[in-house]
Symmetry: C2
Subunit: 403 residues, 2 copies
């Protein structure tokens, strides 16, 4: 049985934590598993190096940033290998290059193109535990590249996929995926199991556990992820192709909240071809991140209503862009403090009652819904920010997630 | 004009220091020089990483140590490149591997076998200042290796040799080689010029500037070294093949002192073949470092006297080894606090009066000489440790080094 384990920054944040990770790896080894261990830099190290670079330049060369930032993971990998060797477990540490991780040329946010597993398989065959410095690879010119924030998760998932590992265990300081944020709803329950798609939609709940890019890659390569805590022995949450594994489906898996939203509502937009494209491309030019977009059908007077949300700190920028469309609008309405609450579940696509139940639960609690957007497995509602926590608790109870 | 510059740990010990190095490099660039810059890890970093490793193991895997320790130089190289790019100077940072430095397999004290200068020449040709992470290379299997303490000096000298650079400037916190230690003799003068051989013999004076391995390599490859301070604009000392450059020779170039010496004198050693080899191989087995060795001609009774010096903290070990030779000795005599004072100069080999002048100068000051050893360009004398500083000052004056 081959398992890839990945330990994040806080899991290897001190020499004592690395020792504790070594013990955990040793236990898995003693259970007879073949192991590839992917590690991040010790927490704080990467930020320290970024600060160093910014001391010299606001916009440092990305190639040099990669050379700089890839050093932290090598340190952790070497230390963990030294610790495991000392415990009597044959272990070898490999850089991204030595682990065969080939990427494109996009320094600081490179994409993994392929993994040559020759060396990895050779070392596993020799009976070695293989430690791999996460977050890094090399491009075709032999230059060191890094994969961007959360890149070590990507390294782990990609290695698990390439090696056809039985599982990819992602260790962090959180012990799994919860039905909602336990700080808002203390009755939140840890999920035993969640599908890739649900996980993608629940990004705000899972952000501390692993990023969407890794979930997408896991889905694509069919890698079973287990999100676990390196601080406890709790079971964790399995992220896999849920529908294939279980016939018993839960309608709603979780409730997610994003409080960093501001709403823009445009009334009476001239319904000429390309107007929406023009608005959103002008927003994109200003690097404004648009989240939800809703357009209603045209009204009788040949105009339409268009709404979208942006991060709160970009609302002023968005207003400025909208002013340039004055002649195309009857009016614009802004709300700088709204929140997006979402319910997510693979079950809901075949059950039209889910959305209705959500709307009525909120209504019963006197919470007005300003905008609605639905996807195959998600219903998102924009509400007044002050009702955020109440809405989460009401929906959590409505769908029996505390059971 | 191509110059290799090397900056040691204290020269790049903080962000401010790296900034100052960047300014110095930029000045050289603005003078029109092509530049290859070799850097060490920021001071303290390598020791910190060694401590980390020793937290896990007293005897960590050397391969993993190399992966660990090679990270520090990469950080400095990337930061310096970022700083220079920001100043408008096209700069690229290369790892040891990327700079083409190939070594043997001796992890943690690898020897440079060859340098493939293709990439270096390509980058120089593109108009880049090339920063190279010192102290590291790769072996034929692509494993990262390090060159041992002082390894960045070796990297610099080897690169200068391979690139046929016009000079290899070694920057540290010392501004050159002095006629003796200025803390002992304030009249000590900085030398403008010294030969490779003198530098090798004056190791104790130059140890803070550069190690013998680098001087040996520079001699072999004919690399002209300039030892300079990165903290001032002082001229520094040129280390090259002195005899070839100047007809005007100074008899004595410097006075060196080593206070960490203990003396072992063996009387009436049975003069059978192989006895000396046996004694010194037994000392070597105990890892005792023997410095001076003096054997007098056999006396009429078929025995000989044998003397040698060891570091003071190894004297007890040496005594223990000597006890096993009881039956071969008439007696042994130990002195745990002696010092070795040496005068060095290429001029002295053709001037027999130099040694005599040294002996008589010490005698005049009431300093007894316990052992003497001479080489082509050095006379070393073992004296009572308490006369160390006095002896240095007497010899410094005797040979007019303060002039």
């Amino acid at each position: 049985m081959l398992v890839v384990q990945k330990y994040g920054g806080t899991s290897v944040g001190s020499l004592e934590r690395i020792e504790s990770v070594a013990n955990r790896v040793a236990r898995a080894r003693e259970e007879g598993k073949d192991l590839v261990i992917v590690v991040s830099a010790m927490s704080g190290e990467t930020n320290k190096l970024i600060e160093y670079a910014h001391h010299f330049s606001k916009n440092p060369s990305k190639r040099e940033m990669d050379m700089l930032l890839s050093s932290g993971e090598r340190v952790t990998a070497a230390l963990l290998a030294i610790a495991l060797n000392e415990m009597g477990h044959k272990t070898i540490a490999l850089t991204g290059r030595q682990a065969g991780i080939k990427t494109d040329n996009a320094h600081t946010f490179a994409r993994i193109e392929s993994i040559d597993t020759t060396r990895l398989e050779e070392e596993i065959g020799k009976g070695n535990i293989v430690i791999v410095a996460g977050f890094q690879g090399i491009n075709e010119d032999g230059e060191v590249t890094t994969l961007g924030r959360g890149g070590s998760d990507l390294s782990a998932v990609a290695l698990a996929g390439a090696l056809k590992a039985d599982a990819c265990e992602i260790y962090s300081d959180v012990d799994g995926i919860y039905t909602t944020d336990p700080r808002i709803e203390p009755k939140a329950k840890k999920l035993d199991h969640i599908s890739y798609d649900e996980m993608l939609e629940l990004a705000s709940l899972g952000a501390k556990v692993l990023q969407n890019r890794s979930v997408e890659l896991a889905k694509k390569m069919g890698v079973k992820i287990v999100a676990k805590s390196s601080f406890s022995d709790a079971e964790g949450t399995v992220i896999s192709d849920k529908e294939g594994e279980s016939m018993e489906e839960v309608l709603v898996s979780g409730v997610a909240l994003d409080k960093n939203q501001a709403r823009v509502s445009l009334r009476g937009v001239t319904d000429r071809p390309g107007i929406a494209a023009e608005i959103f491309s002008n927003l994109a030019k200003e690097n404004i991140v648009v989240d939800m977009i809703i357009q209603n059908a045209s009204t009788d007077d040949g105009t339409t209503n268009l709404g979208f949300t942006v991060p709160q700190n970009q609302l002023e920028d968005a207003k400025r862009v909208m002013e340039s469309f004055d002649h195309d609008l009857a009016g614009a309405d802004y709300d700088e403090s709204v929140a997006k609450v979402s319910i997510v579940g693979v079950g809901m696509k075949s059950h039209s009652g889910v959305a209705a139940a959500a709307f009525s639960a909120l209504a019963k609690s006197g919470i007005n819904i300003e905008m609605i957007s639905t996807s195959e497995i998600k219903v998102s509602m924009i509400i007044d920010e002050k009702f955020s926590e109440l809405a989460v608790r009401v929906l959590h109870e409505e769908f029996g997630l505390d059971k």
